[in-house]
Structures are given as structure tokens and as C-alpha cells.
């Protein structure tokens, strides 16, 4: 593994500020992250992906359909509220009024009905639940994502971060072709850009550990991760087989259970990798990492 280049220390201290797993970005870094996102949207035009903006929360019931809670119970970030039933809000307010509140005890909470998701593309399968597709689906979306981890590091691992995805839902052949296209496309772009990377076949986070489907992935790689400097996964290309199609009853245009796959970019990790490699000055970034001027405004 080659030694990592480091941008000036004050840039990380002042502009790449992590506290309790939560990142604050300042000034040019906010703009650089936006331009990286514009670049990934431009890359999504290869397959003519339509952009969606889904809600930032997903229902417990829809994610339970995908074994979400039995697969990653530690990771899950839940959404709740003060119990709105008769008298509860008043009890909470009087208990909270004269204390310096550090947390709100579960006795005051309503049951959690929503989740801040750990990955963007669940929203697609939820939205197309029960549908038969007229043609292969290509969607791009950006989502805040949340993962409780045991440790955090600025730019590399946050509780809250942003994920841009390009998703394909359709026949097995269409999804395999989509994933193969992006694997080669990303290798080419990263080579041209001079971003040092390796590609690793990785374990897949979509399926329950106790699920027999886990055995399949030992035979057939379902996930390819693009590792910056051999260690930081900045992009991944994922094949879900027909797992989501089956769970969300999505059929391809021939009536078969749909297959799906996605290409995912962690925006803060790309920001970290690109500023490490090329510095914070956008003008010094290589052309393959810059969206065309028309893409940046569309």
C-alpha cells in the first residue's frame, strides 16, 4: 500500500470537522462535494438514468420486507417522536422543563415507525413495490445515509454521510450488463484520473447473515469495491440477484421476478480521497473528475 498524501493539517481541522461521528464541512469542501455529485450524475447519463428524490426516511414495515432489522440491528438509526397520545406530551414537557436535557427517555417516546436508511437504493424497491416494469429501470438518487459504527474517522467513516447511487432493475441479463459496464467504466475513469485504487470482491451487506443466500456469494462475487489506496471503499458495484425483486414483488417486462444491481458512491469518501490525492484546489483536479460544464448546471 503506497503512503498517503496529506493536505495541509489546518484544512482537516477547520473544514473537515468530525464530532460524535458527525461531519461538518466548511466553504470550498461543500462545493467540491457538490461537484463530485454532479460528476456522478453525469456518469449516470450513460444508461439514461432518471433522477429521483425520495423521502429521507423509510417505513419500518417496508424495510422489514428486506430483512433489514434482522440483518443489521446494531447499525439501524430509527426515527421516533414524543408519544402524542393524551397527556403524554404534557408529562414530557413538565419533566423536561426544569432539567438540562441530555436525552429523552424511552418512556416518553412513541414506537418507531421510520428509519434513516443505511443505503440509498432501498427507496427504489419500496417505490416500485408490486409493479410490473414496462422496461428496464435505470434510476439515480442521492440520499443521506446513517450507519452506527464502533468507531468514526473524518471523511472515512461517519454515522451520517451521503450516498449517490445508480440503480438498475430489470432482467438478469440487463442488470449483469449494467454492472459490467460500470465496473469497466469506473476502472477507466479512475485510471485516467490517477486515483490509486484496487478492486476487491467483498462480502455483501444486503442479506441476512443466517440466510442461505449468503452461501452463494462465496461462489459468485456479488460486490466489487473500489478501494482508494488499497483500503477505503469509495465506490461499489453490487449485484442483488433477484432478492429485492422477490421481496418487493417487482417483475421485469417478461413477468419474471426482477433482478437488481447498483453502483454506489460515498460522497464524503470521494471528497476525502480526492483532496488527499489532488489537494483542495479544484483547478488542480484532473479532467476525468470534473463534470462537463453543461452537466454541472443540469
Amino acid at each position: 500500500m503506497p503512503p498517503e498524501k496529506h493536505p495541509p493539517a489546518e484544512m482537516f481541522e477547520e473544514n473537515f470537522d468530525l464530532r460524535d461521528g458527525l461531519l461538518t464541512l466548511k466553504g470550498p469542501l461543500v462545493e467540491l462535494r457538490r461537484r463530485l455529485d454532479a460528476l456522478f450524475r453525469e456518469w449516470a447519463t450513460i444508461v439514461g438514468a432518471v433522477e429521483y428524490s425520495f423521502p429521507p426516511v423509510m417505513s419500518v414495515s417496508s424495510l422489514a420486507t428486506a430483512d433489514y432489522f434482522s440483518s443489521f440491528p446494531h447499525l439501524v438509526t430509527l426515527v421516533s417522536r414524543i408519544d402524542p397520545s393524551e397527556g403524554s406530551v404534557e408529562r414530557f414537557v413538565s419533566s423536561a422543563r426544569h432539567s438540562s436535557l441530555e436525552q429523552i427517555g424511552k418512556e416518553h417516546l412513541a414506537a418507531a415507525r421510520y428509519v434513516l436508511p443505511s443505503a440509498a437504493c432501498y427507496a427504489v424497491y419500496i417505490d416500485f413495490r408490486g409493479r410490473q416494469l414496462e422496461e428496464d429501470l435505470f434510476i439515480t438518487l442521492l440520499s443521506p445515509c446513517f450507519r452506527h459504527e464502533t468507531g468514526y474517522e473524518a471523511g472515512r467513516r461517519q454515522w451520517a454521510f451521503h450516498m449517490r447511487e445508480i440503480v438498475c432493475v430489470g432482467s438478469e441479463g440487463s442488470v449483469q450488463y449494467f454492472l459490467g459496464t460500470y465496473r469497466e467504466f469506473l476502472k477507466g475513469k479512475m485510471r485516467e484520473a490517477g486515483l490509486p485504487f484496487t478492486v476487491a470482491e467483498a462480502t455483501d451487506p444486503f442479506f441476512d447473515k443466517r440466510d442461505p443466500r449468503r452461501i452463494i456469494q462465496r461462489l459468485e462475487p456479488l460486490k466489487h469495491e473500489f478501494l482508494f489506496n488499497g483500503s477505503l471503499a469509495i465506490a461499489s458495484v453490487n449485484f442483488h440477484r433477484n432478492f429485492f425483486g422477490e421481496r418487493f414483488r417487482i417483475r421485469d417486462r417478461t413477468g419474471m421476478v426482477a433482478y437488481s444491481g447498483c453502483v454506489a458512491f460515498g460522497l464524503e469518501r470521494w471528497l476525502f480521497a480526492c483532496t488527499q490525492q489532488f489537494g483542495p484546489d479544484w483547478n488542480l483536479w484532473p479532467a476525468p473528475l470534473k463534470p462537463s460544464p453543461s452537466a454541472a448546471t443540469t
Copy 2:
């Protein structure tokens, strides 16, 4: 109140899709919302505002400092997780495994330590807590915001939406000048654009209803709302006096408790208003609502 123009019905049905208070946008509407945000960022350059990206959640303890929970207990959206203590996760997983999960009962939840905020600018006062400013502070930020309401309407009122703000923290005179400047600027821009609007002096949501400060606002307007077609608040200009400066111990450069004020834009409401008024075709939108090409890429 003049009659409202309506874009083609299928646009609202397919692309402006509200379920359970949560909005899904599709295709060109996502891009239009992004361009509106670029416009507001351009408007923030008038005062040389620096852009920040703050975490999407704020701690319970920091918002309690601003009377958040006693002021709006019904509105609050809380963040929790499966109780991570010994045995709890296992108990949850075995209870969840064989049921179609609709919600996660409070018995499985950890106390809530974080909030999905109802307005963007709290993050600024939290971040500058305890600081003495070397000069007046001008910051712009975009934040997902969450408000539990009794009813929702696509584009007009959502549980989750986006707010772009321009914030000034500093001396009373600086903040008053900032707010006056933007009140006139917005009137000018909206007139030039041909967006029908009125300005209303409104009650202020930042202070506890039982707080004596509420009396002040009856004498002196603290909030000006820009109402599209006489009813939909698409922007507001807010004076907080030294409420946040006091609570978060922020001092201006002279050592006095800092004053603050903000200009807030609800992105989905602007999207609604502009598509109602000018249609979904960006090319037909008036020039004052388009960011300059350089701003759109910066």
C-alpha cells in the same frame, strides 16, 4: 386572493408524489429544486456568506438550550436506535424475526439523544457555542428539516422538506441591516420575477409560548413572511434578537451578547410556487429566478 394557476395534473400525480407527509420528486423537478438552491446560494453572496454543511441531526442537549422541546413538543422528530445494551439487540431480533414488523415498540428503543431539526439555523448557534466572534458572521446552509403537522399537502406542507438559510450573527445593528437588506432584495426579485406575493408580519416560532419574550413580538415584528399568492410562506426574514446569542453564549466582536437573524427559503414550496406560476419548463422561467451560469457551477 387571485386564482392559482395549475400545471398539468399528471405532473403533480407522477412527479410531485406525497405519501404519509413524505414527498418523492422525479426527473426535471429534482433538477429545478437544485437550480433554485443554486439561486439562493447566489443570493447569499450579497453578504459574502460562507457555506457550511452541518450534520443532519442535532443533539437533544444542544436544542434543549434553545427551549426547543418545551416550545414545540408535538413537532419534534427524534432519532433513536435499538437499545444496544447486553441482550437487548438479541431480544429485539428474536421478537422481530417472525412477524411482519409495522413499528418498533419503545421497549426495544434506546433513549433519544438526537433530533432531526425543524429549521436549519440552529446548527449555526450550536457550532459557534461559547465563542467570541472576531467579525460579524454570515453563513449559508441547506438542511433537511422535519415538522410533524396535523395535515400535509404536496409541495406545500411536508413532514420532511429542505430549507436553505442565510444567517447573520453579530451586533444588533449588523443583524438589523442584514435583515432589512434581504427584505428589500427579496421584494425586488419577486416583483421582477412576476411571482405574486404579499409580505406578512407573523408570530415567531423560536420562543417558548409561555416566555415573556413572546410579548415583545406583539410590539415589534420579529418575522416577515413572503406569501406566494397570499397564502403560502415561501421565504421568511427572521429577527431573533439576542435569544440564541444568550442561550449559546456567543458574543459579538465587542464582547456583547450576539444578535442573530436569518433568511429562510423552503425549497419544495419554491418549487411548488414557481411551477404553479411559470410551469415546469425551466426555459420559460423569468431571468430573476435563474442563477448566473457561473453560480450554478460554484
